[in-house]
Each structure stands twice: as C-alpha cells, then as structure tokens.
C-alpha cells in the first residue's frame, strides 16, 4: 500500500525551524482575527457614509485599524500595514467627510485583496 512504510515527517530541529513551525500555527489564528477586524472596518465605513457612526464608533474603528496595522504586518501581510494606518488616521479624526469616503472604501478593499493572498514567508 503506498505510503504505509513512509516515515513520518522529521521533527523540526533547528531554532529557526521550530520557531517557524510555531509561527505558522499562530499565523492561521491571526489571519482569521484580521479578517474579522477588516469586516468591522468595512461596517464602520458604511456606517460613517450613512451618518450613523457616533464618536465611540469612530474611536473603536480607529483602534481596530491600529491593531490591524500591527498584526497584519507581523503575520506576513506587510502591504496591509500602510493602508490600515491610513484608515486609523481617518477614523481618529472623529469624522469622515464625504470627500474621504471613497478613499476609506478603497483602503478597505485594498486590505481585503492583500489579506486574501498567501502571507509573505521569509525563509532566508
């Protein structure tokens, strides 16, 4: 039977291999959390465009964008950090003028594209 005598995969032995193996497991959880954060930001942009985002909503959205900026970059999505920071800046102002709404939508969509790809893995 093919594979019956196949030895199990070798356990990682080097520090780097052990760290990378652990990192991949944590990254999968982070990816799910970051997609949830992005969904919250998308909802916040929609709420702002409809005039129903209150000051606490702006604060909350700024915080979510801030967390996303740090987390996405740490877990292999550095191209999401800049847009997330820009969103944080927009929400931190406490108001999203009509003229800024297309930019906010664009940023959310851009982050979505980035997060839908495979993460960067530096194996050097």
């Amino acid at each position: 039977m093919p594979g019956i005598n196949t030895p199990p995969p070798a356990e990682p032995t080097s520090v780097r291999e052990r760290a990378l193996a652990a990192f991949r497991g944590i990254s999968a959880k982070a990816a799910a959390s970051n997609l949830e954060r992005l969904a919250r930001l998308d909802e916040a942009v929609s709420a702002a465009s409809e005039g129903r985002l209150d000051p606490s909503g702006y604060d909350s959205a700024a915080g979510v964008a801030h967390t996303l900026a740090g987390s996405a970059g740490t877990f292999g999505y550095p191209d999401a950090t800049g847009p997330a920071r820009e969103l944080e800046g927009l929400f931190s102002s406490g108001v999203l003028p009509v003229g800024q709404l297309p930019r906010a939508h664009e940023l959310v969509q851009g982050i979505r594209v980035v997060l839908s790809a495979a993460p960067d893995e530096d194996d050097s």
Binding site: R16, A19, A22, F23, I26, S27, G70, G73, D122
Partner: protein
Amino acid sequence: MPTRSTLWPCPPQDAPLPRGFGCDDCPRSRDQLESGSARKVGPTPSESPMTVRRVLVVDDDDAIREVAQMALEIVGGWQVSSAASGTEALRRAHNERPDAVLLDVMMPGMDGPTTFSRLRELSKTSAIPVIFLTAKVQAGDRRAWADLDIAGVIAKPFDPMALAAEVAELLGWT
C-alpha cells in the same frame, strides 16, 4: 554537570548547527563558542537554570502575545509569561518580578503608558525595565513618551525571528 542548551535534544550530528547555537555538551558547538563565532542562547556555565531571563509580554491581541512569547522562548531561550491587560500585567509583574516587561501601548482600559506609570509607583516593580511594543510610529506619539523612563520602543509590525535580539540589545543582555 554539563550545562544543557535550551535546544536540548541537540541537533543531529549531520545537521548544521543553528546560527548562534552553543552548548557545553556539544563538541561541535563548543568549538564555535571558543572561536567566538557562536553565542549561547541558553544558560552559560556560570549561570544556573534559575538565572534564565524572565520576560513578561503584555498585549491585548492574542496572536501578538502568543507569537512574542513563542519568539522569546524558542529563539531567545527565555522564560516568558504573558498578560492580556494592564491590570493583569500589574498583578503578574508584582508576583513574578520579571527581568523585563514588553508592553503594548494601545490597550483597552489601562493603556501601556498608564500601566508603565503604575509599575513605577510600586516598589516591587519600579526597577523592572520596560520596552514599549507598539504600532504607534508617529513622532508625536514618541514625543509623548519622552519623559518616561522606558528602556526602548519596538515597532509593530515586528519580525518574530528578530524580536529576542532586539530586546536583548535594548536591555544590554549579552
């Protein structure tokens, strides 16, 4: 009693040694240690296991907390505990007296700077060096911390593989 590296069991004889790997019980890495091309990542012969560095990681983001803990334990060889809030950080720092605290700045409830100030007010924690770990990169944000006696700032996003080295450099840990 030979000092075991924190990488025990040792890499197989035909496997390349990780960069910086050093263990008194391994002839190959002993040569590297003596030549100065390797740096111990575990306890030195003069240190007992009780003197392994202990670090407290504080962050409300579960994944950041986990990856920082993982990086400092596996790559740094340190003992690491974690806290998800400023309040929990105060309790753990008071009870555990870590050698350093890695502290997120933006947290709900008690934020990083407030937590830092509270650590400084308590006699048992006042001397513990604190490093801010933060995605706040604007000069204005950094200026707000200029009067705080923190050991340094590590920016998010960070490279987990390099985190231990960055912490060690800021704290002067060799």
